[in-house]
């Protein structure tokens, strides 16, 4: 990435920052429209910079531009829309677009997992809570943002820092992707019982991304899988404990006792 491209990127970020700044909810005269124009301009400028300065035309794909636009504009709307319901629904859009970006990078399994977990479970729960908690009107804290300038400044400086660094990454050429798809890379990692099965069920599936993901996760990172399971269990218990309705109990509760006296006069249970 040339220096000129880098500076062009910084310019684009500045433009985008201005757009997001205007779009953030505020009391008084709305400047959403001008902000939206600026932000869209910034997004398209970003894609233009990428197209001319970064992406190797031989490997570029039109889908990248499409889904990058959807993801970035959607994300912008998530953080700037005054109605949380819309934010959540825009987020669905972002999740689907990001899933598409992952598919473009060959991570099909991860992409579908993203859609199932995020769009199918997490976001619908968010939507559920939003709808339950906020049934009418638009309260003041949704129509006002706090210190939008500092926030935008910090965020976009960070963005610029990362992007400036990203310019030094080696371009992923044929070598990288060839290593990904080569059977040799697969064969090196498939000393697992799953593959030694002489079952016909494995036919036609042996090259797929999901199988290789399974091998990697279940062979190389099996401890992490266990830890993830424990984490989910803990989260489940935590969520149940948090949202449970409190049953009034007899006797003094811990909260009624002055600080420092707990454990001395009140039994811990």
């Amino acid at each position: 990435m040339s220096t000129a491209t880098t500076y062009a990127l910084y310019l684009v970020f500045a433009l985008g920052g201005a757009g997001v700044y205007f779009m953030l909810p505020r009391t008084g005269r709305s400047r959403v429209l001008s902000g939206a124009v600026l932000a869209s301009l910034a997004v398209f400028a970003l894609l233009a910079v990428l197209a001319f300065g970064v992406i190797d035309p031989a490997h570029g794909s039109g889908y990248f531009y499409l889904f990058a636009v959807i993801a970035l504009l959607g994300a912008g709307r998530v953080i700037t829309h005054p109605k949380p319901t819309y934010s959540a629904l825009y987020f669905v859009l972002v999740a689907v677009a990001v899933a598409a970006l992952l598919v473009l990078q060959g991570a099909e399994f991860l992409a579908v997992a993203l859609v199932i977990i995020y769009a199918g479970a997490i976001l619908i729960t968010y939507a559920f809570v939003i709808m339950l908690a906020q049934q009418s009107g638009s309260p003041i804290y949704d129509r006002q943002s706090r210190e939008p300038f500092i926030a935008v400044f910090a965020g976009f400086v960070l963005m610029a820092a990362i992007a400036g660094r990203a310019g030094e990454l080696p371009l992923a050429g044929e070598t990288v992707d060839a290593a990904l798809t080569a059977p040799a890379a697969l064969a090196a990692q498939t000393e697992s019982p799953a593959n030694q099965q002489d079952d016909s069920a494995q036919e036609g599936a042996d090259e797929s991304n999901s199988l290789r993901m399974g091998v990697i996760i279940m062979v190389n990172y099996v401890v992490v899988v266990q830890i993830a399971g424990v984490l989910l269990l803990i989260a489940m218990i935590g969520a149940i404990a948090l949202s449970r309705k409190k049953v009034p109990s007899d006797g003094p509760r811990a909260a009624d006792v002055p600080l420092g006296e707990i454990g001395r006069k009140v039994k811990p249970y």
Partner: protein
């Protein structure tokens, strides 16, 4: 297949947008949505950078990231419901009583 740099830049942009949202919005739910946006950015980055190394470690890491996101979302929503029950508002400012 595509290059890495442009994905990293898009991921960074998503991350930063989430950050802006987290810093500037006052609604607890939207704040958490913003952190989820940051997760998406990280996910794109992890997968893209993982491709540089020629293995699937990036994607595996991304999968664990999803688990963490699910855990975080579950606990966050539980907390939000609890807080909402206590104060009847989703404003983050309602919960600044712990200041020193």
């Amino acid at each position: 297949m595509a290059g890495v740099t442009e994905y990293v830049i898009v991921g960074a942009a998503l991350f930063a947008l989430g950050l802006v949202g987290f810093l500037s919005r006052r609604n607890l739910i939207v704040m958490f949505l913003s952190t989820e946006i940051m997760f998406q950015g990280v996910l794109v980055n992890v997968v893209a950078v993982g491709r540089l190394h020629g293995g699937l470690e990036g994607q595996a890491f991304g999968l664990f990231l999803l688990v963490i996101a699910a855990v975080e979302a579950g606990l966050a929503l539980g907390l939000i419901v609890l807080l909402f029950r206590r104060r009847g508002t989703l404003d983050a400012d309602a919960w600044s009583a712990m200041r020193g």
